[in-house]
């Protein structure tokens, strides 16, 4: 229960509860669509709404048939494999390139910093439909359209801004004296990087990598333009599923994807806390 200041009048007090109600409504609006699909994915009937049996909590009205459907379907398994291959490969390249670039950007002697930063961030700003169309033209010309390397390169470009931003942010609190100390004690630059810098910026690097991963894993517009049948990913499969014949299998996939996001969110939160602890920003 909120403690009101003594000067708060009746109107102010009642407004406070109206205000809380408004906030509750907004939170409901944000979260309901996501939570709703979880029970619906266990529907025994091929409907997208709660059946009478489901509302009565009848066990027969629930089933895991859509999950069975998903795990036994060749095209879904194929697409899940592709999604992971593409996301992992592009995350790997994006994290390596992005981390090294962030190290350069956060040095005080960086020439043309603002311009370079704007160029590096640009894949995040340009609407995906434009990136997709542009990459389609260009990658077709150099025979990279409808190939795995093409899709991976495109997703790498989309993922790098996130790595650059998170790692640069982590490096703001980084003590450059440590590097000098390490080098004055005779460590090679490589050894300094892996033994001193990397452990300290690891939380930033990992959260950047997670952003890059989810960007690639969720991405559909570029895949729509660039991938052929062989490179179909989960989002693309969902996209065509929704457009053509929407089956509750999609809800099962959606539920699995929500689970993945919950896992990612939890790991990010843990990383954030670790990072704050490392920098002594919070005692927790």
């Amino acid at each position: 229960m909120k403690k009101f200041p003594p000067y708060a009048g009746l109107l102010e007090r009642s407004w406070h509860y109206v205000y809380l109600l408004i906030c509750a409504f907004v939170f409901l609006y944000l979260i309901t669509p996501i939570l709703l699909i979880i029970p619906l994915s266990f529907n025994a009937e091929p409907y997208f709404t709660f059946t009478k049996g489901m509302l009565a909590l009848d066990a027969d009205a629930y089933s895991t048939r859509w999950y069975t459907d998903f795990f036994t379907s060749d095209s879904w398994i194929h697409s899940i494999k592709n999604s992971f291959i593409i996301a992992i490969a592009s995350t790997f390249i994006a994290t390596a390139l992005g981390t090294v670039a962030a190290l350069g950007l956060s040095r005080s002697y960086m020439p043309g910093r603002t311009l370079i930063m704007s160029i590096l961030i640009s894949p995040m700003i340009v609407p995906l439909i434009i990136s997709g169309a542009a990459m389609f033209f260009f990658y077709s010309n150099i025979n990279l359209a409808q190939t795995f390397p093409g899709v991976i390169l495109a997703h790498t470009a989309l993922g790098t801004p996130f790595v650059v931003i998170t790692v640069t942010a982590t490096l703001v609190g980084f003590d450059q004296q440590l590097v000098r100390a390490s080098q004055s004690l005779g460590a090679t630059p490589m050894r300094t990087f892996f033994k001193i810098i990397m452990p300290l910026i690891a939380p930033g690097v990992i959260s950047g990598a997670l952003f890059a991963f989810i960007t690639s894993f969720d991405e559909v517009v570029i895949v729509l333009f660039l991938s052929g049948y062989e490179q179909r990913t989960i989002p693309l499969e969902m996209w065509s599923g929704i457009r053509e014949q929407i089956s509750p299998t999609i809800l099962a996939v959606a539920t699995l994807l929500v689970t993945i996001s919950i896992l990612l969110l939890t790991s990010l939160e843990m990383l954030r806390r670790r990072n704050e602890k490392l920098r002594g920003m919070s005692p927790g």
Binding site: P5, Y19, F48, Y109, F138, T156, T168
Partner: protein
Amino acid sequence: MAQAELTANAMTTADGTPLKVSLRRAMRRNKLIAFGLTAPLLLFILISFLMPIFDMAMRSVDNAAVPEAIPRTVQALEAWDGEGMPPDAAFAAMAADLKEGQKTRTIGQAATRLNYQESGMRSLIMKSARRIGQYEAPWKAALIDIDDDWEDPAVWKLIKRQSGAFTAAYYLNALDYTYNEEGEVVEQPEYRQIYQMLFVRTLWMSALITGLCLLLGFPVSYLLATLPARHSNLLMILVLLPFWTSLLVRTTSWIVMLQTEGVLNDILVWIGLISDDGRMQMIYNKIGTIVAMTQILLPFMILPLYSVMRGISPSYMRAARSLGANPLVAFWRVYVPQTVPGMGAGGILVFILAIGYYITPALVGGQSGQLISNYIAYHMQQSLNWGLAAAIGTILLGGVLVLYLIYNRIVGIDNMKLG
């Protein structure tokens, strides 16, 4: 003499180099290292991302297909002033080009290109190219015999107009303009006007969605910023989970929620607000697009607003109250102005994302909820008018870049935070 004295007095490093030189060297080396670290990614983005964008922008004015396919005609028409019929030499050149083009199969592209300007051009050219082999000179009579459209000076004027290596025609089309027979820029006939309306619709729907996000996001951000950390962290999950959930998952859920046999209609029927056959059409139209996009973009408004509000000290409000302001005045005159940077950052972010949105409008927008991006996709995948797709895309890109510059002024890319 003075020079020698200066050098003698200057400080040197252990090996005798003047300190100034040594410092400059070290600075240069530092700069090189910094740039060298950034260079791989810079090069990667330039090649894999910016070159494609540049290529697309070029494609929106590219017209090389025409002069490449009918070089002789282009040359022959150069001398023609556009009055009356073109010289006989132009007919002969055209016949030669058609024969050649039929053999090398380059004529099709040029025919398609000209067809964007005037429907019927493609079939005229393709038919003539197929049949010209059976004819002998004089070529003027031959071409007119194949199709008497060749007698129409307008056809020749169109070819002359489109014979340059670059064209503004795609941009004109993207803004509902075209060339008339005299080569003047005029509005498209009304039944073909669509893009101005689409640009306007995209802008006002994005503005509406941004407004709704601000309206819904402001109270929630305020709550999150004023609650003690332990509660607000818990509530923050309700904002971050949607943020991290796949876009397609959220769009799917909105289809499930809003369709006529969907959950929301079921609830409304159940509580008796609407009858079973009076179910509301809430999806596959503008409402569907607005409701779904607002929910999807709301976290992008809440997060920057929240981070600004966290930095506002509560003592300002207390001071205002103690000086006699009533709660409303204190809030409006003291608190709200301090949140303007957050509103600006969130607002522009949401607006930038909204004007380029494609997936959600395509899935839940029906006909009336389509935005400009959907037409880029349409021209990319169905009508295959890639030049027009590139022109619309370049215009949209220009708009986004302007907004981005404003965003950069307000927030600064260095201060961009994620999650």
